[in-house]
């Protein structure tokens, strides 16, 4: 049995577009659930999505617990042994309060990769496979969120390239979610049920393509 941790934000949590963190797609509809079904019995899929989660930043408004870096360590240790860690974050870092360019968000992604490599929660204390997933770009119309996310849609379109550069230089797997799904027009930055299904399937194929030797 192999284990994969899906570490993300509201789009991993399964938040319904236009809803609140309490409006969630069902476990089987969210992309980790779809991916679990696609991967089949050989895989244990762990969902870890928190609405508002950033890569490395304490959120002065929503709270320090939104910091993806501080929570990553206990999370990895809770769920070890992990064969694969998938990280899809970055959108919340683009909030106006953080004032960060896309390249800094990518640097922060790199921090998370280093933390995983340091902690070695893989089999026998090894470094697990790591996959950076760039979130689908935000739409231009983000409704009532336009002041919180001022300037973010433009930056969100740069995340895929910046993340790929980081993934390449740190030699980890990379997937651009924007290549298979778009955000829902209801709020412009969450993905709907159909997109969850597409993303779950696409990521299952990516996970399989990594190539896994038979388990002893």
């Amino acid at each position: 049995m192999r284990s994969v941790l899906c570490y993300g934000d509201s789009n991993t949590h399964g938040q319904v577009p236009g809803g609140t963190p309490l409006d969630r797609y069902g476990p089987a509809e969210r992309w980790p659930g779809v991916m679990a079904r696609e991967l089949g019995v050989g895989w244990h899929v762990i969902e870890e999505g928190l609405s508002g989660r950033t890569t490395v930043r304490d959120d002065p408004i929503e709270g320090a617990h939104k910091n993806g870096r501080t929570y990553l360590r206990p999370c990895l240790q809770s769920h070890a042994v992990l064969d694969l860690v998938i990280i899809m974050l970055g959108t919340n870092d683009l909030k106006a309060r953080f004032n960060q360019p896309a390249s800094e968000v990518a640097m922060a992604m790199g921090c998370l990769v280093y933390d995983i490599k340091e902690l070695k929660p893989g089999p026998g204390g090894s470094v697990p496979e790591i996959m950076i997933v760039s979130p689908p770009p935000m739409l231009d119309d983000i409704k009532e969120w336009r002041s919180i996310f001022a300037g973010a849609p433009e930056k969100s379109r740069q995340l895929a390239l910046e993340f790929e550069i980081i993934a390449d230089s740190l030699e980890v797997h990379f997937f651009d979610a924007g290549s298979v799904v778009t955000c829902d027009p209801l709020d412009g930055f969450h993905i709907n049920g159909q997109a969850h299904a597409l993303l779950g399937r696409a990521l299952a194929r990516e996970v399989e393509a990594i190539g896994w030797p038979d388990e002893r």
């Binding site: 991967l39 089949g40 990518a106 640097m107 790199g110 921090c111 280093y114 496979e129 790591i130 390239l161 790929e164 550069i165 980081i166 993934a167 390449d168 230089s169 740190l170 030699e171 980890v172 797997h173 990379f174 194929r205 399989e208 393509a209 990594i210 190539g211 896994w212 030797p213």
Partner: protein, 367 residues
């Protein structure tokens, strides 16, 4: 001292997202390793690449993604096995790179354009004697230009370069038109200047051996004795995929020139002998006698080599019809039990196709 982990990322691989091929300097050893493996075996998975190169899954993932973006490799249809997850096979993309190969013989010049897996996309033969005596122009340059022009304009940025196979055999050089030898020396620079692609030069027999090992029957052979049947019989030793290129290698007068003499003595026409891609008519007694002599020479070369190297495979390459080569191989196998003799399958212009492999091996493959 800053924490170098957080220095600016190194976006080397994907720095150049423009279409066309990346500069030579950014092609890492590991990328070459993966490309070489894919040249040898098509339809292999990332898992197999990792197992056969010793690279980690993450490194393979990064390399495969960048080569895919560059168009050098392509994914096949996912294969669903009876057990386990579906697998996605990877292969070189034939359209990913092109190369021009030129071989200069004593009678004619051949120019080919090949794709990344060695398929001939365009082929031209120029009679050498018709070329002007003291210059390589203008037919020669225009044949190269035409090979390139045969490729649609938008693919020109995918031409890796031009390979030039030059004769090194003293006896064959004697047969070339007057002053040709001096002209050969200047060819590399002239082609580079006039056509504008980098030119890679190699001895023609070594190039032919390289062609069979990159694209032909010798792909999976690591150790073998390579014979090239041209005007004369030439040979090269290949050990551990390495072709031994010796200057002043001996050749034997049991080649097609010898056959021509035999046929002429019987008062028959010989022009078919030098044509490319055409079947030979039966030359009767003359051919039988010649073949016996040729096989005898191959036999003694192999026997001499076997004192030092336990060679069991022989590859015979030639522009002569494959049926002729196969008959020679059969004869040789009968005469030498324990030897597997294989006729090369680069039928048209093995030297020129081998020359076309030079830019590929120099830019994309490990030595």
């Amino acid at each position: 001292m800053p924490d170098m982990r957080f220095a600016p990322p190194n976006p080397l691989r994907i720095a150049d997202r423009a279409s066309g091929l990346n500069a030579v300097s950014v092609r890492s050893y590991n990328e070459r390793l993966v490309l070489s493996l894919l040249l040898q075996s098509k339809d292999i998975t990332r898992l197999e690449i990792g197992e056969r190169t010793g690279l980690s899954a993450q490194t393979v993932s990064v390399i495969v993604r960048s080569l895919e973006q560059e168009g050098l490799i392509a994914k096949g249809e996912a294969q669903r096995g009876r057990v386990g997850p579906p697998t996605v096979p990877l292969s070189l993309n034939p359209e990913g790179a092109y190369s021009v190969g030129i071989s200069v013989g004593h009678r004619q010049v051949e120019v080919v354009l090949v794709d990344f897996v060695g398929s001939i996309r365009s082929h031209a033969v120029l009679p050498f004697s018709a070329a002007a005596q003291d210059t390589n122009h203008p037919q020669f340059m225009s044949a190269i230009a035409k090979a390139i022009a045969d490729l649609p304009q938008h693919l020109h940025s995918r031409i890796a370069g031009i390979g030039l196979a030059l004769p090194g055999d003293e006896v064959e050089l004697e047969l070339t038109p007057k002053a040709a030898r001096e002209r050969f020396d200047a060819l590399q620079e002239e082609v580079e200047r006039e056509i504008g692609y980098p030119v890679y030069v190699q001895n023609d027999i070594t190039a032919a051996a390289g062609g069979e090992s990159m694209f032909g029957v010798a792909k999976h052979l690591s150790d073998y004795l390579f014979f090239y049947l041209g005007a004369r019989l030439h040979s090269r030793l290949v050990l551990n995929h390495q072709i031994y290129n010796t200057t002043g290698a001996v050749s034997f007068d049991v080649g097609i020139l010898r056959l021509e003499q035999e046929i002429t003595r019987q008062g028959r026409q010989t022009s078919e002998l030098w044509e490319r891609g055409a079947d030979w008519p039966s030359f009767g007694e003359a051919e039988i006698a010649w073949q016996r002599e040729l096989v005898g020479q191959m036999k003694s070369s192999i026997a001499a080599l076997k004192q030092f190297v336990p060679i069991t495979s022989v590859v015979l390459s030639s522009y002569a019809p494959q049926a002729v080569c196969k008959a020679i191989c059969r004869e040789l196998e009968q005469a030498m039990p324990g030897i597997a003799a294989i006729a090369g399958n680069i039928e048209r212009s093995p030297k020129a196709v081998g020359a076309a492999g030079l830019p590929f091996s120099s830019r994309f493959m490990v030595e």
